[in-house]
Amino acid sequence: MSLLTRTAGATADDATASGRKGPRESLLSRSAALIVMGVFTLYFLLPIWWLFIASTKDRGQLLTTPSLWFADFKLFENIGALASYGDGIYFRWLLNSLGYAGLGALLATVVASMAGYALAKYRFPGRELFFNVVLGGVLVPATALALPLFLLFSQVNLTNTYWAVLLPSIVSPFGVYLSRIYAAASVPDELIEASRLDGAGEVRTFFTVSVRLMTPALITVFLFQFVAIWNNFFLPLIMLRSEEFFPVTYGLYAWNTQLNQIPELRTYVLVGSLLSIIPLIITFLLLQRFWRNGLGSGSVK
């Protein structure tokens, strides 16, 4: 239960912090803290603000008007132009990204949670060996696997397909690790025993009873994997040749490399970048509770 209780504490921290007893902080240290955080807020948010402003301008005003404030508001015209450029290839990229990350993370979560659950709740020979090999996998960075995967996929002629990016994304050793800790802490043996007495099979017990108790961990695993796939650049870069399979990051990268030859792409790169990060930022802010869950559990000692 440690994960759950920690989160409950985390969401309530603002209330407890102001309610803490003790001497009031001096005006000096309070304003120093505020100034430091204020300056860095500018550092973190100004680039995104700039991107938003730049996306609302047409090509001429982008260079001639002050870049941190609005000129003529052309955001929707720009989006329209982006949608029609190259037969709407941009939105195909966006859908590809959603497909790779959404489907990949969903399958990864199901597969990892089953394995983590089995490692937590059953005793069998080789269990620790299995777990330790998976833990070693957590330390192997995704980029180190990109070239080996490419060599392997080209042996079976699967490079430059959806499969080349999707299949490797279904494996999440971190997901197994997190599911195991969480299942061990949150699924009581008595409950599984009771379900057995009711005549439910092991697999059915998992999908009807245990999964519900593991939900916070599963959402965390899904989120981490979603972002990992969405951000993975090396795998699509090395696997894909045809732009119809590109995820949005690779597509924008490809456009960005052609800016010198095709200057009108600049607006599309900017608007495309903005559109591609807005859904992610919103999801992040809505689900940040689960982020802290996963981040906290990573450092469980």
Binding site: P47, L139, A144, P148, F150, V176, Y253, N256
Partner: protein, 304 residues
């Protein structure tokens, strides 16, 4: 890591018992086991195998064929100047960028945790937002911000060329820092929240101020979280690819072999897959050794 240790401390009599629910265990483990084998273990094995092969031709125009060549590719890796330059470059990058980033993350986490700061929720969110921006997009954005013409800070970018050969490495370091400070801040912050409040009460009764509490209690207690973020950052630094690859469009100072992974990609595109495989194996080993050594080093310090 401690989880594995704890789990293996089961009572010895359990070992002798017959394994119950064999079928279910198989059902649960097989999907992951198969996928892990196919897309983790097999590629690693295959890359090692490929790195031991060399391409031979019969005469100048003969058909190429792969033959076993022992460690020929690794000898070539050792002699490859650009590869080792790229390794040196990311090491220099890491030595500067990782401490700066983690120092900032620690400072922000401590400020978020101190009673002196108002508006914690807002700052926590604002600092975390960049983590939602993929490395490619962040690099495109900062590439424009650094460029002499488009930047909102043309006064700065026209007098200092951040995309010059001397500075472009640090321009990239800025992009990586911008994306990951908030993420590392949250890891350290959630470790701070786990410290029981009573400890502070005792320190306060002894007359310790906030700075003293942060230095003597908070930082030592979140040391494991800092070690974790450091290991992730070291791994990340050695794998650097997306940001410098994007910066190639903005700065001619970024070569195709700027970082080790870019060298792997460029070598594979030649195509020289055997050498690229050897690069990959060396890089993976170096990553493992560095993060492992760092872990051991900090553990020894903690024991003393």
């Amino acid at each position: 890591m401690s989880v594995a240790v704890r789990a293996s401390n089961r009572p010895p009599k359990e070992r002798r018992r017959r394994v119950a629910h064999k079928g279910a265990i198989g059902m649960f483990l097989t999907p992951f086991g198969v996928l892990f084998g196919l897309f983790y273990l097999l590629p690693i094995g295959y890359a090692i195998w490929q790195s031991l092969l060399v391409v031979e031709r019969d005469g100048t125009y003969g058909a190429p064929r792969q033959v076993f060549g022992w460690f020929t590719q690794y000898a070539l890796v050792l002699q490859n100047g650009p590869f080792w330059e790229s390794v040196g470059r990311v090491l220099l990058f890491g030595v500067v960028q990782v401490p700066v980033m983690l120092g900032l993350a620690l400072l922000f986490a401590l400020l978020l945790d101190s009673p002196a700061l108002k508006g914690k929720r807002f700052f926590r969110l604002a600092f975390f937002v960049p983590y939602a921006v993929p490395g490619v997009i962040a690099a495109i954005m900062w590439g424009f911000l650094f460029s002499p013409n488009l930047s909102p800070f043309t006064g700065v970018t026209q007098s200092i060329d951040f995309l010059s050969p001397e500075l472009v490495l640090w321009a990239i370091a800025n992009v990586v820092t911008w994306v990951y400070v908030g993420y590392n801040m949250l890891i350290i912050y959630s470790a701070l929240l786990a410290i029981p409040q009573e400890i502070y009460e005792a320190a306060r009764l002894d007359g310790a101020g906030q700075v003293r509490i942060a230095w003597s209690i908070k930082i030592p207690m979140v040391a494991p979280a800092i070690v974790l973020t450091a290991i992730f950052s070291i791994i990340g630094t050695l794998q650097l690819l997306a940001e410098p690859q994007v910066f190639r469009s903005f700065s001619s100072a970024v070569s195709s072999t700027f970082t080790p992974n870019m060298t792997v990609y460029a070598t594979n595109s030649i195509p020289n897959i055997n050498l690229a495989a050897a690069f990959s194996v060396v890089l993976a080993l170096a990553t493992f050794v560095l993060s492992f050594a760092f872990l051991k080093l900090t553990q020894r310090k903690a024991d003393r």
